[in-house]
Structure formats: structure tokens, C-alpha cells
């Protein structure tokens, strides 16, 4: 099957392959930002804020991952309107 197997989780239908794809994208973006934080903080000249910016940058990475995976993955719902 093109999308991998479909499963129902919390009342939502998801594809295992798509989930794996979304997870890899999001986790990579999040951890990339986490480990890049010291460099980014240095470049900004705000090394005192490393700890704070590290979390903010990681969350930003997660958000970017969410946007990318939402754009490339189709929701498994068929909406019918009355």
C-alpha cells in the first residue's frame, strides 16, 4: 500500500509510514536547533542566554517540523457535508 498500513489511534486514522516521516522531520528539526543553539547564541553575541534560547530554539524547530509535515502529509479523514 502506498501510504503504509493505516491504524486508528485516539479516534484518528494515521498511516505508520507517514507518522515515521513526520516524527523524523520534527525530531530532526528540534534536535538540530537544540545542538545548533550554542553557535547561534554565539553569533548573536548573547552567550549568557544559552540555556533560555536553547529551549526557545528547540521549540521553534518543533514548530517548523510541524508546518513541514502538515504540508506534505494528507490527513486521513473524509469530510462529508450535509
Amino acid at each position: 500500500m502506498a501510504e503504509g498500513q493505516l491504524y486508528e489511534i485516539f479516534g484518528e486514522v494515521i498511516s505508520s509510514r507517514h507518522f515515521l516521516k513526520a516524527f523524523i522531520i520534527t525530531a530532526t528539526a528540534t534536535f538540530l536547533m537544540y545542538f545548533a543553539a550554542p553557535t547561534i547564541v554565539k553569533a548573536l553575541g548573547k552567550e549568557d542566554f544559552l540555556k533560555a534560547l536553547r529551549v526557545t530554539l528547540s521549540a521553534l524547530g518543533a514548530f517548523v517540523g510541524f508546518i513541514i509535515s502538515s504540508a506534505i502529509i494528507e490527513p486521513k479523514r473524509i469530510v462529508e457535508e450535509e
Binding site: E8, I14, F23, T30, E81
Partner: protein
């Protein structure tokens, strides 16, 4: 900080959180703690001003709780755990062709619940502050601080109210030992990663089931089918949506619930009072419409009261709301030199400032949510169902939990979170209220010391 600048920043954050959480609230299956706590925690751990993060948080819960009932009314699919009790009433409404009416009633009642809770719980939380000091002194036969007795009493009440009462009671000590054991392995009293692991547990469990060969019962061969009911343009006048009795009942029960939720479960209160109202009315349709509306009012009120009273008055998370979604405010964070955001909030700002900002952002969030949902509930639901894949949402929260676990305790932190998540999920799936686990986490050092 200048009050004008503060209000301006709070306005911006509230608008942002309302817009974001209206969308997240409508996505089916979103657990409240799992979707609110990681982001709140990320903001606090980053050292943002606690009052501004609280502004963000209030916007979040107001929008989230109003929005999670929208797919319930329009498609009989609950937007979250708290909306599950509303499904039967939404189905009755649909049977009589009243879906659009029940939608308007719910949105309007959630605004009433918000306003009542702010009027009652906010001043009350400041009046009760002396109680908070009293609760911090050691007392009683076990020489515990007063608040620990309250938490332990809360754990027992929640356990007895769980679907699996005996299992819930049995879970208390093993789970406390798990928490303390993991802290011993890490060599520090971590809170955040264990807390997040509990919130993400149920999702983690289901996702790991996918890797197992015993996953047949979850397999599907087609997409989910969702039927959206027809709606017309809705008037903005709130008086058109509720009758006098519904306004009265919503206000009374929201008021009572906002106080009780400092110690009691929001889901429990929503079910209890909603059912009482439904059973008091013989006419099926009238009873369901009324119960649906009142439940929406109670939801918002319990979230607001359950956050503000422990946060301002007591200083420790005494109920499932404060030990759940609002728990990050009570965690000792490096960003605040080991203090909790709650302590910093009360040290940094005067009572009038806190009251003004909280009242302002909550009412702003209620107004925004009301206007957006009344005007755009149908297109928003359509957008969410057609554009937001569940895969992306689950991945995002998992990634946030993993990165925060790694930050707190390295690779061990990630494995620790998987362990706690799986054990929490096992209890939760077998009928133990997840609130029990949150509160055991808070009381764990005291409980293990008893053994």
C-alpha cells in the same frame, strides 16, 4: 515593568495563543496536558516573564476548552477528553436537527463560565493566601507540610473516583517508587521530564503498539469518515443563544466548580453536574441542550479556578489541573535560579498588577474566542479536518518531550521518559485517572519515605 508595555505584550501573547489553541482544540484526540504543558514549560524554561507566560496560558485554556466542543456539536467527534461527556447530548441535538443551536449554546456558555470563574476564583485566590502559608508549616502525625496531606487526600479521592478504583489505589506506591528510583538514577530531583512523560504516555503507548506484531485491532483499511452538519450564519448577540434558565444554571455551576476544582477533577465535575441537570429535565431535547451548555461553562470555570487558586493562594499543585496542565508554573527552574515561576510571579508583581493582567487577558481571550467561533466555527472545523494531519501533531509533542528530557538528564532522560510514559499509560488505559499519577509525582518523596 511599565504596566502599559506589560498589557501590550500580554495582548499579543493572548491573541497568539487563542489563534493557535482554537485550532489544536478542534483536533480530535488531543489530550489537554500533552498539548498545553510542553509549550508552557518551554516558554518558562526559556526564562520568559511568568506573568506573560500566565497570560499565554489563560488564553490557551479559554480557547482550547471552548473550541474542543465545536467538532462535538458539528460532527459528534470530541475535540478532547473534556468534551467526551458532551457527545451523547450532541447526538440528541443532532437527532432533532438542533446541532447548530447546541453549538451556539456551548460557545456562549463557555464565555459565561470564563467570566464567572474570573469574578469568583481570582479575588478568592488572593483572600486565601494566608491559608497557603499555613499549609507550608509542618504538622500532624507524619510531620508533613500541610499541603502534602491535601495532595494525598486528593490522590485517594481521585483514585476512588477512577474507573478502576482498586488498581488506582494499588498504583500509588509503585508509581512513587518509580519516580524516586528514576531520580536516584539521574542523581538529581528532576520533575519536568517525568511530568511530561506522564502526559505523553498514552500517545507513546499507542504509537509503540504500532511496532508490535499484536497491533491487528488498531488496523483500518479506510480513512475516517466525518459528517459535518449544515449551519447558517450565526448572530453575535449572546442573548439569542441561551435562555434565562441556561444562563442561571451555567453561572451557578461554573461558580461552584471554579472553587471545587482547586482540589477536584475537572472531568469529574463536568460529568457530575452535567448529568444532574440532564436528569432533572424530563424532556430529552431540553435536558440535553441544557446539559451541553452547562458542561461547556463548567469546563472553562474548572480550568481557570483549578489553575488560579493553587497558583496564587496555595503555592503547591493541589488538584489535577494544577498538577497537570498548569504544573510547569510550580516546577523549580534553572531559568529562575532554582525558584518556581509561581514564586517569581508573586515576588515580582503586586496583587493589583497580577489581578488586572489576568482578568484582562482572560476576558480578552473569551471575547476573541467567542467572536471567532461564532463566526467561523464551520470553516475552521473544515480547515482543521482537511488540513491538519494527526501524524504531525503527535510528532511535534513527542519531539518537544524528547528534547526537554534530553536537556534535563541526557540520553538517560530519554529512556527514563519512555519508561515512565509506558507505565503511566498502562495504568491510564486500565482505568486509573491520570490525575492520580500527576499528584503521586508531586508527593513521591513523602510517600516513599513512609516505606
Amino acid at each position: 515593568m511599565d504596566i502599559g508595555i506589560l498589557l501590550l505584550q500580554a495582548t499579543f501573547l493572548t491573541i497568539l495563543s487563542v489563534l493557535m489553541y482554537i485550532i489544536i482544540g478542534m483536533i480530535p484526540g488531543t489530550d489537554e496536558t500533552a498539548t498545553i504543558a510542553p509549550i508552557t514549560l518551554a516558554l518558562l524554561a526559556a526564562g520568559f516573564d511568568p506573568l506573560l507566560v500566565l497570560a499565554w496560558f489563560m488564553g490557551t485554556i479559554v480557547a482550547f476548552k471552548a473550541a474542543d466542543a465545536v467538532p462535538t456539536a458539528l460532527a459528534a467527534i470530541p475535540g478532547g477528553v473534556m468534551a467526551v461527556p458532551q457527545v451523547p447530548d450532541a447526538l440528541v441535538a443532532r437527532k432533532y436537527g438542533y446541532s447548530e443551536i447546541v453549538l451556539r449554546k456551548g460557545i456562549t456558555a463557555s464565555v459565561i463560565g470564563t467570566v464567572v470563574a474570573i469574578v469568583i476564583a481570582l479575588p478568592l485566590s488572593f483572600y486565601l493566601t494566608p491559608l497557603g502559608d499555613l499549609l507550608k508549616t509542618q504538622m500532624g502525625p507524619l510531620n508533613w507540610p500541610g499541603w502534602v496531606y491535601i495532595i494525598v487526600a486528593g490522590i485517594i479521592v481521585l483514585a476512588v473516583m477512577s474507573k478502576a478504583k482498586i488498581l488506582a489505589l494499588l498504583a500509588i506506591f509503585p508509581f512513587a517508587m518509580l519516580v524516586q528510583g528514576i531520580r536516584a538514577v539521574y542523581g538529581k530531583p528532576v520533575f519536568i521530564s517525568i511530568f511530561l512523560a506522564i502526559t505523553i504516555g498514552p500517545i507513546l503507548y499507542e504509537l509503540l503498539t504500532l511496532i508490535s506484531p499484536h497491533n491487528h485491532h488498531l488496523k483500518r483499511d479506510s480513512y475516517a469518515r466525518i459528517k459535518l452538519v449544515k449551519t447558517d450564519k450565526i448572530t453575535l448577540n449572546p442573548l439569542h443563544h441561551l435562555d434565562k434558565l441556561e444562563v442561571t444554571l451555567s453561572s451557578i455551576f461554573a461558580g461552584i466548580s471554579s472553587i471545587l476544582s482547586a482540589f477536584m477533577s475537572p472531568v469529574g465535575l463536568t460529568i457530575l453536574f452535567g448529568d444532574l441537570i440532564k436528569e432533572a429535565e424530563k424532556d430529552e431535547l431540553k435536558g440535553s441542550l441544557r446539559a451541553y451548555a452547562v458542561r461547556d461553562a463548567i469546563k472553562n470555570a474548572t480550568y481557570i479556578g483549578g489553575t488560579l487558586i493553587p497558583l496564587i493562594a496555595i503555592g503547591v499543585p493541589t488538584g489535577p489541573m494544577s498538577a497537570g496542565p498548569a504544573a510547569p508554573f510550580f516546577a523549580k527552574l534553572d531559568a529562575f535560579n532554582g525558584l518556581s515561576p509561581r514564586d517569581v510571579l508573586l515576588q515580582r508583581y503586586s496583587t493589583p498588577t497580577i489581578m488586572l493582567v489576568i482578568a484582562y487577558v482572560t476576558l480578552l481571550a473569551a471575547l476573541l474566542t467567542y467572536v471567532i467561533l461564532i463566526k467561523y466555527s464551520k470553516p475552521l472545523t473544515r480547515f482543521v479536518f482537511k488540513k491538519i494531519p494527526a501524524e504531525a501533531l503527535y510528532s511535534t509533542f513527542l519531539a518537544i518531550v524528547l528534547v526537554l528530557s534530553y536537556m534535563e538528564a541526557g540520553i538517560a532522560g530519554i529512556f527514563g521518559s519512555i519508561l515512565v510514559g509506558l507505565i503511566s499509560a498502562t495504568f491510564a488505559r486500565n482505568g486509573v485517572s491520570i490525575g492520580v499519577l500527576f499528584m503521586v509525582l508531586v508527593a513521591a518523596p513523602y510517600l516513599v519515605a513512609l516505606l
